[in-house]
């Protein structure tokens, strides 16, 4: 039976291993936004032995490129982008301690294997619910690659950010379970 869980970052192996597909997570604390261009740069930094803009151990990355904030707002619309585009980069980041990824859409087998091996989870946020999701973001600050505009790395502080566990550390996949249940042959 899926459970509702309130979590705070940074995440530990123990916390991550207690999650199962279908669990409803309410996430609190600091998460980092990064998508295609930033991931490419992070891997380049890793490859050349340089320090990353933030310490990866225990962290959660949210695949999002927000729209600009109107005056008086913390952030614009901030729903997830499609995760498969970050698949080439994700296993390396999990290797150095990334514990959670938030996005939407399916992940490659290599990413799912890395989640089981390094103990990390993949959480799904509702695609297209940009205005609704932005309500969970309490602060947003660019910490790297400002010139990338929407693709910059931002430190986000979230409160009860809603997400569902799509892939857990046991190799299971919520999308596959959904198909099994609702597919009419």
């Amino acid at each position: 039976m899926p459970k509702a869980v309130t979590l705070s970052t940074p995440l530990t192996d123990e916390i991550v291993s207690s999650l199962e597909i279908g669990d409803k997570v309410f996430l609190n604390g600091i998460i980092y936004s990064a998508r295609d261009a930033a991931h490419k740069r992070l891997i380049e930094l890793l490859d050349s032995g340089k320090a990353l803009p933030f310490e990866m151990q225990g962290q959660v990355i949210y695949y999002v490129g927000p729209s600009p904030a109107r005056p008086g707002r913390i952030i614009g619309a901030a729903g997830p982008t499609t995760s498969y585009r970050m698949d080439p980069y994700a296993p390396r980041l999990m290797e150095i301690g990334l514990k959670g990824m938030i996005g939407k859409g399916k992940r490659a087998p290599a990413v799912r294997e890395a989640m089981a091996r390094y103990k990390a989870v993949y959480l799904g946020a509702t695609g297209g619910a940009g205005a609704l999701i932005s309500r969970s973001i309490r602060s947003a600050e660019v910490i790297a690659y400002e010139e990338l505009g929407p693709e910059a790395i931002r430190r986000l502080v979230v409160e009860d950010f809603p997400a569902v566990v799509i892939n857990d550390t046991f190799g299971r996949d919520l999308y596959e379970e959904g198909l099994k249940q609702y597919r009419i042959a």
């Binding site: 509702t126 297209g128 379970e177 198909l179 597919r183």
Partner: protein, 280 residues
């Protein structure tokens, strides 16, 4: 009788419609969500639909985009043959409208160089299609297109022997492979026939027809209904989490093709389905 229209009016329309399209979910989509709520068997699927309805309300009331991907700006102009456009280059006027709408409207700039990925900074160049039609008006259609659903779109140059069955197979295959990625529930635009690029444009134009309206051609209407039924048997559901509503509609446009070809283009549209129009 020639009617003069200043291109500044086109700039203003593009600017206003870009913001409206991104903040105000179409009434046809909202009605479709309400209908989907009745037909969806999955509790999680229903929750997602509720969230999308709530999201649309927030976007409209707080002037925030429905989705952070406010798309590449795709603009269709239908220029009446009796119109004389004055005041400057019409394509530059459209781009200026995008620049102003995306800038002053707090929309995301999502256009970049394909190799360097350097952002162009103002969401130009817009993707512009201009058609000459009878009359003395200019119709402006603004159709912001996001990357997620567009990335799941496909085009197949089938042999004529593949036939209608081959086309149906490719539509289902495309939706199945896309799975959760294009933010289901989707709207599937299908362009059949024409040349390679014409099939794709027909697929995109098919997405402009309001959801829930029939195809004027009875045969194509039947095909649309059949494809929708088959798609919804796939079980992908809202956000791909499992359910009976994977697509809200399938729209088909058809043109004669070369005797050696059977092109089929499948343009996937997410549930934002943004398109607004104005007549000058």
């Amino acid at each position: 009788m020639v009617r003069e229209i200043n291109t500044r009016e086109i700039t203003d329309a593009v600017k206003r419609l870009s913001v409206e399209a991104n903040e105000q979910l179409g009434e046809d989509v909202l009605r479709s969500f309400q209908q989907a709520l009745k037909n969806e068997a999955s509790p999680v699927g229903k929750e997602i639909l509720d969230q999308l309805i709530e999201n649309a309300r927030l976007a409209r009331e707080e002037h925030v985009p429905i989705c952070q991907d406010t798309g590449l700006a795709v603009i269709f102009l239908e220029v009446g043959q009796e119109v004389h456009l004055v005041g400057g280059d019409v394509k530059e006027a459209v781009n200026q409208g995008v620049r102003e709408g995306y800038g002053e409207g707090y929309l995301r700039k999502s256009s970049c160089h394909p190799f360097t990925r350097a952002n162009t900074g103002d969401n130009t160049p817009a993707v512009i299609y201009i058609d000459i039609v009878p009359g003395d008006q200019v119709k402006v259609l603004v159709v912001p297109k996001g990357g997620g659903s567009e990335n799941m779109s496909r085009l197949f140059m089938l042999p004529p022997s593949a036939g209608l069955d081959g086309i149906k197979e490719k539509v289902l295959e495309t939706v199945k492979e896309a799975g959760p990625n294009p933010c289901p529930p989707t709207i599937i635009g299908v362009g059949i026939g024409g040349t390679f690029e014409q099939a794709a444009l027909q697929a995109k134009k098919s997405l402009l027809r309001p959801l829930g309206t029939p195809n004027p051609d009875p045969e194509l209407d039947d095909l649309e209904k059949e494809l929708l039924t088959e798609i919804n048997k796939l079980g992908i559901g809202p956000q791909g989490l499992g359910g009976r509503i994977t697509s809200l509609g399938v729209h088909v446009r058809l043109l004669p093709s070369h005797i050696a070809s059977l092109p089929v283009a499948i343009n996937v549209q997410c549930h934002a389905s943004r398109h607004k129009e104005a007549v000058i």
